[in-house]
Assembly symmetry: C2
Homo-oligomer: 128 residues x 2
DNA sequence: CTAAGTGTACCATGCAGCATAGTACACTGT
DNA sequence: ACAGTGTACTATGCTGCATGGTACACTTAG
């Protein structure tokens, strides 16, 4: 389903959250589709069920999935996902910081922006 | 000298590192200028000397500052800072992820890119 | 030379977050 | 009834971070 990076600074449950989020937003997991159960996914990616549940809980809190007790977890209607203002503000801050990192490394502003545009263009293509 | 955010996910020594890095790369701290001593800075921002030292050690490792034992710590010649290939690769990955976060939040690609350009433009202005 | 200030290196402690293991319970569908 | 589902809880160990404290070598100012 997706890959985990144990060396990453991100915790496992965050990686699971982000990976699923990407699969949902890109439509690979369609609205209404059933996600693997907590126990099943935990076996697949060999992590603890609690860790998977933590990811699911977070995704539900953010509105990406919904749960029917005793039945399973399903992908929500992403067209209904309102853009969370606070989350957007955090994302802006993170983006600004990521961009500044180029400058800290010694790149000129123009070089940094050129790299930034490259990366975004590549993302546009790969997400189609 | 700068502000710390205790609520941040970033550790304190990382914040100190990044803040100093910014002051150096923007020229606010000039090449050759003496940095506050470990003990002095630790008092100023009320953190443990060990934490400040950790930041200084990291900055020295990355070439932003240099040390003369018994004398002090000084800002290196930033024109000599070579762009670390590994660091650049990490920065690219971080940037890509920050940008994708916009998409995950439900923004269209065009909206996301528009916001990205806004942020970069603002950065260009504030860094001059 | 002496004292103060500097970087540097340790060690011990406490804390928080994360991941794990295990158990238990309520719910649903077959 | 049973299997599968989500959910909750406790306990444990690990890691990184921050702190407090001590110690040593070095340099500069007096």
């Amino acid at each position: 389903m997706f890959q985990l990076d144990l060396k990453s600074r991100k915790s496992i449950y965050e990686q699971v959250t982000d990976n699923l989020k990407e699969l949902i937003m890109t439509g690979i997991l369609a609205s209404g589709e059933k996600l693997p159960s907590v126990r099943e996914l935990s076996k697949t990616i060999t992590v603890n069920p609690n860790t998977v549940q933590k990811a699911y809980r977070e995704l539900e809190r953010q509105g990406y999935i919904y749960t029917t007790s005793g039945v399973g977890t399903f992908v929500a209607d992403i067209s209904q996902i309102r853009v969370d203002a606070h989350a957007l503000e955090r994302a802006r801050a993170a983006f600004d910081e990521a961009f500044r990192e180029f400058l800290f490394l010694g790149l000129s502003f123009d070089d940094a922006q050129r790299i930034a545009l490259e990366i975004m263009e590549q993302r546009r293509l790969s997400d189609d």
